[in-house]
Symmetry: C2
Subunit: 202 residues, 2 copies
DNA sequence: AAACTTTTTAATCAAATGATTAATTTTATC
DNA sequence: GATAAAATTAATCATTTGATTAAAAAGTTT
């Protein structure tokens, strides 16, 4: 069972796990350190014993989440060996897979970027060359008439936004809610096709 | 001057204005009623005098924002007189215009939908027929091979997501930051073209 | 097993926070 | 201009919340 594993985790790791869960679900401000302690099944004081403060613990989680979020994209953008089509396919496939398992990640990352742009800058030092990446160059080669930024925004938007707006979609159309996973699965093939079609637009 | 107008606002209206501003910038949990009182230039007790509680005031603002956010889209989706192409053009144009003036709106709405799906359901009662709208029917007519939900998601994603991810974009590529407004202006024409191209994808 | 270190706990603190109260000032009504 | 109603204020409450402390328990070393 999953329980067995949890029980054998160290207190430090139990707190981290709980912090990931609660911070992702409620965000920094709405999270109480007591929520985390309770979810972890540990004494509140242990949180400060291991992590000094709520903020430090949050930064740890944020660092992790930003890494897994951008780590999935950045190496692909810079890969000189793969074609543009390959890159688009890989990005769509990876993001849709990952977000199916981490539905709260997009909103968490968007909020983190908005609320702490400075820390965020520091974290992504060295990753700030999207515009001069191999990916951008390949986009430009394929379609010199549209700014590569536009198409970069598009692939990210098409892959990630559906997950961010899922709760809204479920209200606007309950049917979408029940078939959401299927729709996202379809998107793995559709996004590359759509991108290909958009690349032809002048 | 803009000041003149503000000074003549009633206390009630000053509080609402300040609440809009602070809630939009920081979200519900991170906002202190004292922040709002200070921004409004009124005594803290007046907030409760006019609005009973922080939560009631927030719901008022949320109601307003959701209305302006969805009110822009829903009538278009149901318009039997306009063509599919017209609808797409109208939606892109309106959203990009509106979000240029309200950059925090997307994240605010996404968070509101995620955090209070129940209240959100109540608010949008009667607007829950995206899938059976004229727009959805027109999409289906134009391309029976792709679920209309997919293309509905796409136009929303292409228009709204760039604003939600703007802080991230500015870090990933400072150049995008400076030319953001220009890029969004270009998108008014590009989004309809892209949608047209995507509609042909089987 | 004594001495020492690390981990864990219960109790508590100080500051922050949403809300209320009672008094005062301003505005409207007669 | 007196009287009542509405608006505003300063002071205060009760809780919540992040964090600390001092003591106890568990684990390690010699």
């Amino acid at each position: 069972m999953a329980k067995k594993k949890q029980e054998t985790l160290s207190s430090e790791e139990k707190i981290k796990e709980a912090a990931r869960k609660v911070f992702m679900e409620k965000g920094y401000a709405a999270t109480r350190t007591r929520d985390i302690a309770e979810a972890a099944g540990i004494n509140l004081a242990l949180l400060n014993y291991y992590f000094r403060s709520k903020e430090k613990l949050f930064e740890l989680v944020m660092q992790e989440k930003l890494s897994s979020f951008f780590g999935l994209m950045l190496p692909v953008l810079q890969d000189p060996a793969s074609s543009l089509s390959d890159k688009i396919h890989t990005i769509a496939d990876r993001y849709i897979n990952m977000l199916a398992d981490n539905p709260d990640l997009p909103l968490f990352v968007l909020n983190a970027m908005r609320n702490a742009p400075k820390k965020f800058v520091a974290m992504l030092k060295g990753a700030d060359h999207v515009l001069h990446s191999v990916f951008a160059r390949q986009l430009k080669e394929q379609n010199p008439d549209v700014a590569p930024e536009q198409l970069f925004i598009n692939i990210i938007a098409l892959c990630i936004f559906p997950f961010a707006m899922r709760p809204g979609l479920e209200v606007l159309s309950p049917e979408i809610g029940v078939q959401f996973n299927t729709l996202m699965e379809e998107r793995k093939k559709l996004v590359p096709k759509w991108m290909k079609a958009m690349l032809k637009v002048k």
